[in-house]
Symmetry: none
Subunit: 225 residues, 2 copies
DNA sequence: GGTTACACGTGATTC
DNA sequence: TGAATCACGTGTAAC
């Protein structure tokens, strides 16, 4: 007797009614309290519980729609896939951030040469500024790789007529395309900072030897026109 | 009678027993079938259902642990927060990818100066022009006098091979000496800002008609190389 | 027939 | 009180 009661009244799917929505899972929903047992005991939170279930179901479906790979349709699998996907996204974000960070602010290889040999490059840069102000001009060329095909260079030398034109000719000769450039003259000195890129179709960035290029630049800048 | 039966046998939380684990939510679990009603009908899937519930619960908790911001502890909220977090992560990834891509490889800018001919220059030039106009960049030349022998100029135009070299040639032809210059390229456009000075010995600044010079510059910049 | 997964209705509990 | 959430045990489909 009790079993019958239980089977009739308590939880458990009833007849399926709505058509299959997404997958092969059944869609169970009672029509209305029209089952044979009419002693319907109105639970106070029956409707609320239904809405809660629907809400959670909807959220899970939304979550599923936001995750590209779904191994299974089950609730646990949906959540599990979401977890792994979040992990992948976090990893991707981390990698991209690292890559971007190291690309835009830490040039890996810096080749620098100065006519007067000093020891520490950082100090050199500071000394250079001082030197410039004092009109004691030190020729200086820096050349470093900042991207696959991109390079960054800085040239400090004395200002001579046509030196910028010569610089442009050299860039043209080497097959470099000017991305951006800054030139300033002061007290008989000239400083050129520029990002350049190897022309497409010529070669890739690996075929450029930064040290050799730097030496060549220095030599050309030194030579009188 | 039926109500009593239902209340006793069917679903519903029992006495709470284990201590509160994570939050203020109650932890309900029956000790063993020691309730007054001993007519326990071993449902074949009772234990399985319990494991399933535990599994889903664990997954949800894991999901919650992977999401930094949690507005609420409820299941629906956990899933909802996960969805918004995934959206944010996807947006971040997209932004970072765009930034990285445009930083290390600019596919549109190709030739400059006297290039080796590889692909169709006309098509590329048109593309750049379109790109430039899409960004709302218009061809423009400004030229004004800022000193006795000094002038300031700004040129905005489409990026074409050799345009910077041509600019330098024109400056040389006009007898201008570069004081400082800034060049930047973006989206098929090129912008040049420069302070120039009339070469000493040539003439004074009054002999330069800014309007005429500007028109000449505009014309030269427009002409194909 | 055994296993898995789901929705269901309910009591308990917290706010 | 009342609304909201949860765990529970079960019936029932699908594999």
């Amino acid at each position: 007797m009790t079993t019958e009661k239980k089977g009739k009244i308590m939880g458990g799917g009833n007849k399926f009614q709505e058509p299959v929505k997404t997958s092969r899972r059944r869609q169970v929903r009672k029509e209305k309290e029209e089952d044979e047992v009419n002693e319907s005991f109105k639970s106070p939170n029956l409707e609320a519980e239904r809405r809660r279930r629907e809400k959670l179901h909807g959220r899970l479906m939304a979550l599923r729609s936001h995750v590209p790979i779904v191994t299974n349709m089950t609730k646990a699998s949906i959540v599990e896939d979401a977890i792994t996907y979040i992990g992948e996204l976090q990893k991707i974000v981390q990698n991209l951030t690292e890559k971007l960070h190291e690309m835009e602010e830490t040039p890996l290889e810096i080749y620098e040469q100065q006519t007067v040999h000093t020891i520490k490059p950082e100090v050199e840069a500071i000394d250079l500024k001082v030197e410039m102000k004092k009109m004691g001009i030190e020729e200086n060329v820096q050349f470093c790789k900042i991207g696959k095909r991109k390079f960054w260079l800085k040239i400090t030398t004395e200002k001579r007529p046509g030196i910028f034109t010569k610089f442009m000719e050299v860039m043209c000769l080497l097959g470099f395309e000017i991305i951006d450039i800054t030139l300033a003259t002061s007290n008989g000195a000239i400083i050129i900072c520029s990002s350049v890129q190897i022309l497409q179709g010529l070669c890739d960035g690996d075929s450029v030897d930064p040290e050799q290029t730097k030496d060549f630049l220095l030599e050309v800048m030194r030579s009188n026109p």
